[in-house]
């Protein structure tokens, strides 16, 4: 038999001036199942709470309704009071007779009547509340960082330095990501590798970081605190344990003319290779598709060269299973394929290159050892045209968004060019110059004022070759006339776009993505590094285009989130979650499809001999966030949501 206590708060005059609390208290006292009905000036005060606790103890109350302010205000206060008096804290409801009654109405009789209805409807609800216990989820205090670019490295180091284990997964043979390809970085013109490689080495040597390079995440199972990740360790054909990174094998490899991805095709690599000299780990891999031995069964020169017998042609891909409690996704971006702009001649003219090509040309460790030499004939270009927004902010051909970094790196390119080719002439076609950031606008001004970069506001309509020169034809929209620049080289500031397999990857690990394939944060403003899937976090350009400072800041933020999660061995969660009635579930899986959190799985029901008799939906309490979308979908009414059960809501409505 229900014994409900109702506590009507005056909130000073806030409620009592508009609601006849005496009438409310008396009316509710007469409601079936109400054992105590009392009023007081401030129930949230210490003596007020004591009154509630005393009433619970003395009357053995089975439920409490506090008719006062919004539950958003004092639900926690009174839950705590209930718990202290020995009543399950979830046997409490707040009847909001202040924000949604006394404060918004002007007629005392009407407000009183409404307060009575609100309160008794919640008395009926609370009669049907159930004892709930916070869900306790054990947390595996080990994180996985997917992606070994600057964001991933930063996140891994931050987590590891706080004393937690990190598994850093990178699909390339070396960590470093795009930043390792860059020459110097805006706005300080630090050498990119000079600031990155120490971090790469720190990650490699960190006792808490396990590095899995040349590896890819195949599958993520589980939920916050308890993920099981299957990682494909691709065969390197070189023994990581013994290889010293001496590089003899690379020197001797007879297949030398393979265009290097790292060099954007401007340089070559061998079949056994490291992507770049400062690779971490400094252990080569054999490119099976190009290796003579794998193609013809003969060669093995590398094996013969290796003095410590680290070449192993029999290696196979293997799947490693890792248990982690949190995942940071830092899978980065790619440069948009500029072939979509046929009119710019990319791919047709060797001297039309992307910004990333230019980075390699300007890099001291690049194919030209830092000299700006054009790809076609290796001559120093006299005039270079830079075209901004070659893909960004172009709904028709490219992408709608701004890639954010191009204004800055184009200014940097112009400066680097000016520093290296003193008589060089650079012309930049731009739509707007977006240089918001610490020291950024000053940087672009410097390019213009000190390094004499010519900025032409307008679009380029066409690039074509004439007499060995590239003719760039466009419009100067400030002067309102066509312009033509005769150039030796054209650099396209191409858009940053998601990795080619971003959507597949997102589906595989269970996070959302936008129309382009950038991963969705839980809330753009307030939860920018979390995903909708609890326990999976984001940083870097996989979430949206961003530069190094932003990527690193976001990485540290994601690391902080992970460390927050790891601060306790158990994760306590609100028990407002869904559960399935096995007996009536029809197994249509509509709930599985509808759930925004992938929190519903299929479960086998077996007989005593272990034979599967039916399959039903099953809610994973670690993943369920308690929205109730599944409950509403379920045609047979086989799912319910604790705290907002069908019985509770029915009673609440039927008492109105």
């Amino acid at each position: 038999m229900a014994k409900i206590g109702v506590f009507v708060c005056h909130c000073g005059e806030n409620i009592a001036s508009m609601v006849d609390t005496a009438k409310l208290t008396a009316t509710i006292a007469d409601h079936p199942g109400v054992t105590v009905s009392s009023e007081y000036k401030y129930f949230c005060s210490d003596p007020g709470q004591e009154t509630v606790k005393k009433a619970i103890r003395e009357n053995g109350l089975t439920g409490v309704v506090v008719a006062a302010c919004s539950p958003r205000m004092h639900e926690q206060t009174f839950r705590k009071a209930c718990a202290e008096a020995g009543l399950n804290p979830y046997m409490l409801e707040l009847a909001n007779i202040r924000e949604q009654c006394s404060w918004v109405h002007t007629d005392r009789d009407e407000a009183t009547e409404k307060a009575i209805e609100i309160t008794r409807s919640l008395v009926e609800k609370v009669k049907r509340n159930n004892d709930l216990k916070p869900i306790s989820v054990p947390v595996t205090r080990r994180a996985m960082v997917i992606g070994g670019g600057v964001a991933g490295i930063q996140a891994a180091i931050d987590i590891a330095s706080a004393g937690r284990e990190v598994v850093l997964v990178e699909r390339e043979p070396s960590i470093g990501g795009h930043m390792a390809q860059l020459s110097e970085t805006f706005p300080t013109l630090d050498c990119s590798q000079c600031i990155l490689t120490p971090r790469m080495v720190e990650a490699l040597q960190h006792p808490n970081i396990t590095m899995m390079t040349y590896s890819e995440v195949e599958e993520v199972d589980g939920y916050i605190g308890n993920f099981t990740v299957k990682v494909r360790r691709k065969a390197r054909y070189v023994r990581m344990e013994t290889c010293t990174g001496c590089g003899d094998c690379i020197q001797k490899c007879p297949v030398k003319k393979i265009p290097s991805d790292f060099e954007c095709g401007l340089g070559n690599r061998t079949a056994i290779y490291t992507p770049f000299a400062q690779a971490v780990p400094n252990v080569p891999v054999i490119d099976r598709t190009r290796c003579t031995y794998f193609k013809n069964g003969k060669c093995k020169i590398c094996q013969k060269t290796c003095q410590i017998d680290s070449i192993d042609f029999d290696q196979q891909d293997r799947i490693e299973t890792v248990e982690v409690g949190a995942i940071v996704v830092a899978t980065g971006f790619q440069v948009q394929n500029t072939a979509i702009y046929g009119e710019y001649g990319y791919g047709r003219y060797k001297d039309v290159v992307t910004g990333l090509h230019f980075e390699r040309l300007a890099s001291a460790s690049g194919p030209t050892a830092g000299k700006i030499l054009r790809p076609s004939d290796g001559k120093e270009p006299e005039t270079v045209v830079f075209i901004q927004c070659a893909g960004s902010r172009d709904a028709a051909k490219g992408v709608k968004y701004c890639s954010k970094i191009c204004c800055m790196y184009t200014a940097k390119h112009a400066m680097l060019y000016a520093h290296k080719v003193h008589h060089g002439n650079s012309q930049i076609f731009y739509m707007d110059i977006r240089a918001a950031g610490k020291g950024y606008d000053e940087f672009t001004r410097r390019a213009i004022e000190e390094d004499e970069a010519g900025y032409i506001r307008g679009r380029v309509s066409r690039v074509f070759e004439e007499n060995g020169k590239l003719i760039v034809r466009g419009a100067d929209t400030l002067l309102g006339r066509p312009v033509e620049v005769v150039a030796d080289m054209v650099v396209l500031a191409t858009a940053m776009v998601p990795q080619p397999d971003a959507k597949d990857f997102a589906k595989r690990i269970g996070i959302g993505y936008d129309e382009y394939g950038f991963f969705n944060e839980a809330h753009l403003k307030l939860r920018p590094v979390e995903t909708a899937t609890a326990g999976i976090y984001l940083c870097g350009a996989c979430q949206s285009p961003k530069d190094i400072p932003d990527s690193v800041a976001q990485a540290s933020a994601a690391a902080a989130k992970v460390l927050g999660l790891f601060s306790k061995e158990q994760l306590e969660r609100e028990p407002v979650i869904a559960s399935v009635t096995d007996a009536t579930c029809a197994g249509c899986w509509g709930c599985v499809i509808a759930c925004p959190y992938n929190a519903i799985d299929r479960k086998d029901i077996t007989d005593r001999n272990g034979n599967v008799v039916k399959r039903v939906a099953s809610v994973n309490p670690g993943l369920c966030q308690g929205c109730g979308t599944c409950v509403t979908f379920c045609r047979s009414n086989s799912i319910d949501l604790a705290g907002f059960t069908e019985k509770q809501i029915f009673a609440e409505v039927m008492a109105l």
């Binding site: 007469d30 409601h31 079936p32 109400v34 008794r120 009926e124 007996a583 009673a651 039927m654 008492a655």
Partner: protein, 337 residues
């Protein structure tokens, strides 16, 4: 000499009955459905049909009947019985099978406890049947010992005249005789020849059927599965049956008050025998169909001495999958023995 009611005097007759305080119900077609409903005049009636889609049972044993009004108070639950008002009714143009159905159900509603809801209505109602002059492929009264003009359950039976002028009026009960008193001046006294009743072929030997059903071994016969294979488990045959009488008690209301109701229920439904535990003793459609047949032609007879079927054939006529009692009993009665 016999008494005759002319078509042309029917409205006068109804008028006289209404002045005597009767409500007249007759088959009418409303919203694409033929059923018994209150009428003011003869023009509203549909008397030229084989039979209405719904039976008169529903006017005695309501599809949903309020029994008790309750109010939940702080200390107790207050209740008030909702007794149906006594209202004098004439059911005009009932088919003999439907009338017989009421007769068949009387002992059921009165054997251990007298169901007031049934008998208050029964006692105040007069059944005026019209003998059939046509039948369709589903009629089977002759198979259950009745006929297109059998008087079972009728207070007055009207026999259509061969010349189509009206009906021969034959009272069968005192209540029937009393009903004719206020209209005696409207009725003619003359000799007349009634139209012949239709030939309704006998579709099964009910004695054979009963004997087979009574044999305990046949309870587990394969036949039950075969004949019920296509049964979808709806309740249309039971709800349209003039003798099916199962019901369920439901409380319906909100937090403060409600009504306890008696609702039709059907042995065809899987839920009918579902236990709280989830166990269901009749967990296949064949066991439910068997129950229906056994109840009608074995158990009911054992208890009340009569089969619970009056041969209207609605179970087959309206079955979504063309099943019904006729086919099953035909199969049974034709089994080799």
């Amino acid at each position: 000499m016999t008494r005759i009611l002319l078509n042309s005097r029917l409205d006068d007759c109804l008028g006289a009955w209404r002045s005597a305080g009767f409500t007249v119900l007759a088959p009418v077609k409303r919203s694409d459905l033929t059923r018994f409903d209150e009428v003011q005049g003869a023009s509203e009636m549909s008397l030229d049909i084989v039979m209405p889609e719904r039976t008169i049972k529903e006017h005695f044993f309501l599809q949903t009947e309020p029994l008790i009004r309750y109010e939940i108070k702080k200390q107790q639950i207050e209740t008030e019985e909702m007794v149906p008002p006594e209202r004098k009714r004439i059911f005009f143009g009932v088919r003999p099978c439907d009338a017989a159905g009421l007769d068949i159900d009387d002992p059921l509603f009165g054997w251990d406890y007298k169901d007031d809801y049934w008998f208050r209505r029964r006692e105040k109602s007069v059944i005026v049947t019209i003998a059939c002059t046509s039948a369709d492929d589903f009629c089977m009264c002759t198979s259950v010992g009745l006929a297109p003009d059998s008087p079972k359950g009728s207070d007055v039976m009207l026999h259509p005249l061969l010349d189509g002028r009206g009906w021969l009026v034959v009272p069968h009960t005192d209540r029937g005789k009393a009903l004719l008193e206020p209209v005696s001046s409207i009725l003619l006294e003359e000799a007349a020849e009634p139209a012949p009743v239709p030939a309704v072929p006998v579709k099964f030997d009910v004695n054979n059927v009963m004997a087979w059903l009574a044999e305990p071994a046949n309870f587990e016969s394969q036949l039950w599965k075969e004949v019920s294979q296509r049964c979808i488990g709806c309740g249309s045959c039971t709800y349209l049956c003039p003798t099916c009488h199962c019901f369920d008690i439901q409380d319906e209301g909100d937090t403060y008050s409600g009504i306890r109701r008696k609702n039709w229920d059907s042995c065809s439904f899987a839920m009918f025998t579902m236990h709280t535990s989830g166990h269901n003793p009749r967990n296949t459609q064949s066991t439910r169909w068997r129950q229906r047949i056994m109840h009608k032609f074995n158990y009911y007879r054992g208890k009340f001495g009569v089969n619970s079927c009056s041969g209207c054939g609605r179970c087959t006529r309206q079955c979504p999958v063309d099943m019904g009692i006729t086919e099953t009993l035909h199969e049974i009665s034709n089994l080799p023995r």
